[in-house]
Amino acid sequence: MAEAVLAVYRGDRESGKPVEYKVPLAPGMVVLDALHYIQGHLAPDLAVRWNCKAGRCGSCSAEVNGRPRLTCKTRMDSLPLDSPVTISPLRAFPVIKDLVTDVSWNYEVNRKIPAFTPRPGVQWKMLQEDVDRPQEFRKCIECFLCQNVCHVLRDHGKHAEYGGPRFFVRVAGLEMHPLDGLSRTKLLKEQLGLGLCNITKCCTEVCPESIHITDNAIIPLKERIVDQYYDPLFWIVRKIRKPGESTRT
């Protein structure tokens, strides 16, 4: 039977290194199957997160040959198998053990985002063409691959002042909800640091749900900030309006 060699990162917060495992191949096998084989036969304590194994929960993110991927959707036959396949944990988050990283920071960012707030007296009717756009953002499975690949987090470690693509998508979903009555522009500018994004589109490239993160979420949100804070006409409108009143455009 054909075999593949996987070089899997083994280690904890202190130290670690790739360890090679030989895995027999089966038709249609994905990287997560190979990791399960290793757990079941070679290294029972290999730490891996996974849930649905169908690309729907976003738990099994890792870097395969250096590319951020869902391991449950990465077919072994799509990889060159003449040299070991390297599997390493997401780089933008601290390692707990092996392929499991501490992603708790993401949950802290999420808490900062004000919930859906329906406009008072709203009629609960919406047209499909109006929900199409926010529905795209709600496809997000929180795999955090976009967070992992965003250089603001990955290379510059600006976790303290930046929300990351996942949460721009989340805010976009709320802001573009046809019945929401709250503006989150100030939050985007002042707490989530949207201005730090310089539109390299890395996040869009790795999104397993094919969400157009940059074009459909980030750029329109950036435009809202520009309109609200840097457009002279809106600046005057803001001055006239009472503080706290919605400046949704």
Binding site: D12, A26, P27, G28, M29, V30, D33, Q39, G40, H41, P44, D45, L46, A47, V48, R49, W50, N51, C52, K53, A54, G55, R56, C57, G58, S59, K73, R75, I96, K97, D98, V100, V103, S104, Y107, N110, R111, P114, A115, F116, P118, W124, K125, M126, L127, Q128, V131, P134, Q135, R138, K139, I141, E142, L174, H177, D180
Partner: protein, 572 residues
């Protein structure tokens, strides 16, 4: 003594953060209770994300004639009258409001032309009843509830496993568990506990369930003395992927059939014409699963032992819009373009109709202060669950469990934690590290999965079930000596060793119930007793710990009031 451990105290402790657990949490928070939610995975990853097709609620947005009475009737008939009638009634009556609530918390369902929530057809439902978001309805629901809970101030203990319920005399006192990350132990003190841990599908080999579905909640409740009910009813979803082997069991949503998908055998015959000529592909899941299995057994299966499911007669754009997840799943995992080619599908273990016996109105188990909702609880679905009824179940009974748990906490004094129980729980968890040369938990798990798959599957008989019971006994002996390598730091082998205990307990209960029920009904098909038995229509199987071992007895199915009997007798 408990000072030795990290301890958290809440009015209401919820075990499980899927739809039922989160809906319970939201309701208990609404009641002013302090709420803790413990979950084995990260928040938002529970199996609810895998619910694709939709949520059943008689809103009448597409078929105006739909109402709760029809939904009640469909549910009771689908469950072959073994359902708890009161649960079926509450469920049908309250589901529409549960969906409206979600919308008011920000969920975005697909729309009709007039701007209402869109509804689609599904097996066993008389009308177009399933509110949906493409084929990712479960994700929408879990994300909506997750965000609602976060903003109401829920405390979530992520990647934490409960291994034992703690009792104060006969009532609930809390739970003992461990953090998966560091392996440290933790004690939760609570006046009310809600079990919302889902089912036990991971005990079968071909399954749509994730690693978490190990029957923990049911086993914890059983060990604490609660009654379990009707565990023989295990649903095999008719359509899991069968090829390639790496994807075996992954769910193919019933929405494919709801949107007009046709099943054919290798001869090209639309075989459902034989088994249910009226409802065809939209027959109930038990019937469709058995039909596919029968075609395969009689030599008319596909190359890889399944049936063809074809939606390619619909416009490609329509398929991509209504079933985007399925389109990508087949394209990426099986190299199949479902807008052009048929899918190859076969039955996959999917859902436990049985579970913890609860009161219909309060979701309380037989232990005061212990509640259960969702798949972990029994009663609503009887012998077979209709598609779409699980998501509405989560919301309706999650809410009721949260409400009753908060009310119970309000009138109950703080419980006392018994140090002896905590000590026992700690010893149990440490034992596998002291065994050397014992079997690996992975090995026993594989054997258990093979055994249940072949002996406690879609078709059952006495001989197989007796063999399964003997095998499970043997696995239990092996599991007692299981040894674990490595440290307590995020150690999946150690985690599986504990999960295995729950799986073995519930596997035994399923097998005992299946052996006892000498008839065929809903998801339970006995080759040696192929007919309905009127006497068995009046009994629920009950599993309880009797102090020495697993005891099986029966309770009469609650008698339905006259007005519901009339609803049931009506035609449409």
């Amino acid at each position: 003594m408990t000072g030795k451990f990290e301890t958290h105290e809440h009015d209401v402790l919820i075990i499980g953060a899927g739809g039922a657990g989160l809906r319970a949490a939201v309701e208990a928070l609404n009641q002013g209770a302090s709420v803790g939610v413990v979950c084995k995975s990260l928040l938002g990853k529970a199996h609810t994300v895998m619910a694709e097709g939709g949520i059943a609620a008689a809103m009448g947005n597409v078929d105006a004639a739909d109402n709760w009475k029809t939904h009640f009737r469909d549910t009771m008939r689908g469950g072959k009258l073994l359902n708890n009638w009161r649960m079926a009634q509450l469920h049908a009556q309250e589901a529409p409001n549960a969906v409206r609530e979600l919308e008011q918390w920000g969920a975005l369902f697909d729309r009709t032309e007039s701007g209402d929530i869109m509804q689609r057809a599904f097996g066993g439902h008389t009308f177009k009843r399933l509110c949906h978001v493409g084929d990712r309805t479960g994700l929408e629901i879990i994300r909506t509830l997750q965000d609602r809970g976060v903003h109401l101030g829920i405390d979530v203990y992520m990647e934490c496993t409960v291994t034992r319920l703690l009792l104060d005399g006969g009532r609930i006192a809390g739970a003992f568990g461990y953090w998966r990350e560091q392996g440290r132990f933790v004690v939760f003190k609570a006046k009310s506990v809600v079990i919302a841990t889902g089912g036990v599908g991971k005990a079968w080999k071909i399954t749509s369930n994730s690693w978490e579905y190990t029957g923990d909640g049911m086993a914890l409740a059983y060990e604490a003395g609660a009654e379990l009910m009707d565990l023989e009813f295990v649903q095999f979803h008719p359509t899991g992927m069968v090829w390639p082997p790496g994807v075996q069991g992954i769910l193919v949503t019933e929405a494919v059939r709801g949107e007009g998908g046709i099943l054919r055998n290798k001869l090209g015959e639309r075989f459902m014409e034989k088994y249910d000529p009226k409802k065809l592909e939209l027959s109930t899941r038990d019937v469709v699963a058995r039909s596919i299995y029968t075609e395969v057994r009689e030599g008319r299966g596909t190359e890889h032992g399944g049936a063809y499911l074809d939606i390619s007669h619909k416009p490609a754009e329509y398929v991509k819009r209504k079933l985007p997840g399925m389109y990508h799943q087949f394209k990426e995992l099986a190299d199949v373009d479902i807008t052009k080619q048929p899918m190859e599908v076969g039955p996959t273990c999917h859902y436990s109709m049985g579970g913890i016996r609860v009161d219909a109105d309060t979701a309380e188990s037989t232990i005061p202060g212990l509640f259960a909702a969702g798949e972990a609880a029994a009663g609503l679905h009887g012998a077979n669950r209709l598609g779409g009824n699980s998501l509405s179940d989560l919301l309706v009974f999650g809410r009721r469990a949260g409400l009753a748990a908060a009310a119970h906490a309000k009138k109950t004094p703080a419980p006392v934690i018994d140090p002896k129980q905590v000590e026992d729980a700690e010893q149990e968890m440490l034992a596998p590290f002291s065994h050397t040369g014992g079997p690996s938990p992975y090995e026993i798990h594989r054997e258990l999965q093979d055994t249940l798959q072949s002996l406690v599957g879609i078709f059952r008989n006495e001989e197989d079930l007796k063999r399964a019971l003997a095998e499970i006994q043997r696995f239990k002996e092996h599991a007692a000596n299981v040894s674990v390598e490595g440290s307590r730091l995020f150690n999946p082998g150690w985690h599986l060793a504990r999960d295995l205990k729950s799986m073995l307990t519930i596997a035994e209960a399923v097998t005992r119930c299946a052996l006892e029920r000498k008839e065929s009904r809903g998801a339970h098909s006995r080759i040696d007793f192929p007919e309905y038995d009127a006497a068995w229509a009046k009994k629920n199987n009950i599993i309880v710990w009797d102090g020495a071992g697993m005891a099986l007895r029966q309770r009469p199915v609650p008698e339905m009031p006259e007005e519901l009997k009339q609803i049931l007798a009506e035609d449409k």
